[in-house]
Amino acid sequence: MEQELTKKTNILEGSSPVSLDQLPQQDYNILNLGPTHPATHGIFQNVLKMDGEKIIDAEPTIGYIHRAFEKIAENRPFYQVTTLTDRLNYCSSPINNMGWHMTVEKLLGVKTTKKVDYMRVIIMELARISDHLICNSVLGVDTGALTGFTYVFQLREKIYDIYEEVCGARLTTNIGRIGGMERDFTPKFWQKLKEFLDEFPKIFNEFDSLLTRNRIFFDRTKNVGGISAERALNYGFTGPNLRATGVDYDVRAMNPYSSYQDFEFEVPVGETGDCYDRFLVRNEEIRQSIKIIEQAMKNMPEGRHFVDVPEFYLPPKQDVYTKMEALIWHFKIVMGEVDVPVGEVYHSVEGGNGELGYYLVSDGGRQAYRLHFRRPCFIFYQAYPELIKGSMLSDAILTMSSLNVIAGELDA
């Protein structure tokens, strides 16, 4: 009976976990956007108060995929936290991995070699490209142009191929280790990377020309969901969304990590911080990333792909079977029986969405005492009601997708 009843109740009314009387009814219309609405991509809910199609107010609710990352991190040895960082911003998981490794290296006082740094830079910039590609193409999908999405997804598949060559995984890569990379780049990797760089401009320009100069797309995104630089800073915006407002804050340039100071690249900025600027900034960052990768390829130093931290860097498998020390270290690392120094570290990297920070408090034990992720999405998504107030329903959806809110990062 219940099934029949629920089936026959209205989709909208049925699925609204937030009671609508939390908002004053008056003459306004209450529209429940999410959590299963197609435009919310990840999962979050917005209860919109609307006057016709105009949005008067919005009340976001998040936490629909809260997975307790920080609690898990307190119960796992350090090397197992990498799998968690993968699932934070899953569009650009290698950046998260590397950020975490660098945090631990900072705590241990390990200085990585240029070779490791450059390898990391290549992987991180590939991740940035794939992150921005998905955001910009999904912005296209939300305006109704689905085709660009399928074009750039072919590029993403190429990036996945490259990842697979390095670590065997596509999306949640678990790439790299504390103290270096798991293995050196193979010749096939370089060949695939070259192919990718050769093919990239053609497909990407096609995508670019499909949207950037499209009049409808321009009209849809220009002056939509804009925010001033002051408000953006006050709201804690970072990354492309902040740069679209005109503030050139980029962690890579300001606090260079992983030898970013060796590379020449520009930090693109917008003016108005609207959806179109965000789109352009991301597109330009993709081009800059390509430039960085090319430089890293050209100047790749010789050397080992890891540094000497036997307490954390897993020894090569053949050594484990033949050498006693390697076996001991392997055992200790895998069982998580390595003590770390006491201290607290804050390290941040420029993630796909902005400053991705790791605040690690260690009490000298074998796990983190406290690990807090500064998740850029979580912080800037709270500006969403302010961004969409007074605009139309369609604008709200575009604003949401151009902010590139990733539910995994939002809810931790």
């Binding site: 026959k8 909208l12 009314e13 435009a39 109704g144 074009y151 499209n214 604008d395």
Partner: protein, 345 residues
Amino acid sequence: MLSTYFIVKIILVLVLFLVTLTMAAYSTYAERKVAAFLQDRLGPNRAGPFGLLQPVADGVKMFMKEEIIPNTSDKAIFILGPSIFMITALLTGVVIPWGPDINVNGTNYPLQIADINIGLLYLFGVVSLGVYGIMLGGWASNNKYSLLGSVRASSQMISYELAMGLSVIGILLYTGSLSIKDIVIQQQGMHWNVFYQPLGFIIFLVCAFAECNRAPFDLAECETELVGGFHTEYSSMKLGLFLFAEYIHMFISSAVIACVFFGGYDFPFIGKLGLSPNIFALVGVVVLFAKIIFFIFFFMWVRWTIPRFRYDQLMKLGWQILIPLGLFNIFVTGGWLTLKNYLNW
């Protein structure tokens, strides 16, 4: 004599009904294939050779799906919505001349069900009735997304119907007739209206997109905003009727564009081949369908290429650009005709 007349008409009606449904069904298939082609994909290819049985599979599945009528909806109107939409879509085909006359035993049978002397007006009238289907369906669902969709649909239809009407007035001034058959005959021999009325054609085309609720004007159902718009609450074949009727609309719109602007069954040099009347008629039908299929492809091409408008931009385009342009077109055409008359060209 009268009975033959009726029999011929009934046969024509049945044939048209079947052809329309088949076209609509295969438009869904074509849509998937065209989308796949434009997106570097393959598209359906498992059901039958090249996936040709895909529409059949969809149809059977939809018929066998559970019907849900929400408790909060207005049941009668909920059912009425898709019915109206489908019926009006099917009604539009009757005034279109599908080909030149066929000659059987010395009698001419026109390949048109009804040559009404106000054919174009009839067409506009019936098409604008269709919006009631969307409106009632969306409103009866008692869902806010549906309601928004139907409100968008109705205001869009009303504003674009105006511009659409204005855009053909130029042609009416030319032809002096509202009968589509007359318009087609007048264009024979490559005197296609599109050459004389390019502006009118563009306005008409844009409005046709809007009337069919196709991208970039698919605001009534746009998936990323309104989930499914007016048909969010519909399941089973009622949804099927909505989707189907939309493709029928597309088919008829293409037919009207072909007839009114592209000479209907006319084709260059077709008259010089010296074909016997019946063969000529057949070739004419094929030519018309080729034009229709081209326009259907064009509809899909546009849909899978460009983004959609926002509601207010759509209204602005309709009222501030298309209607003034339509008026301008009438003015110019009228002026030109007057001048021509005056100078006795």
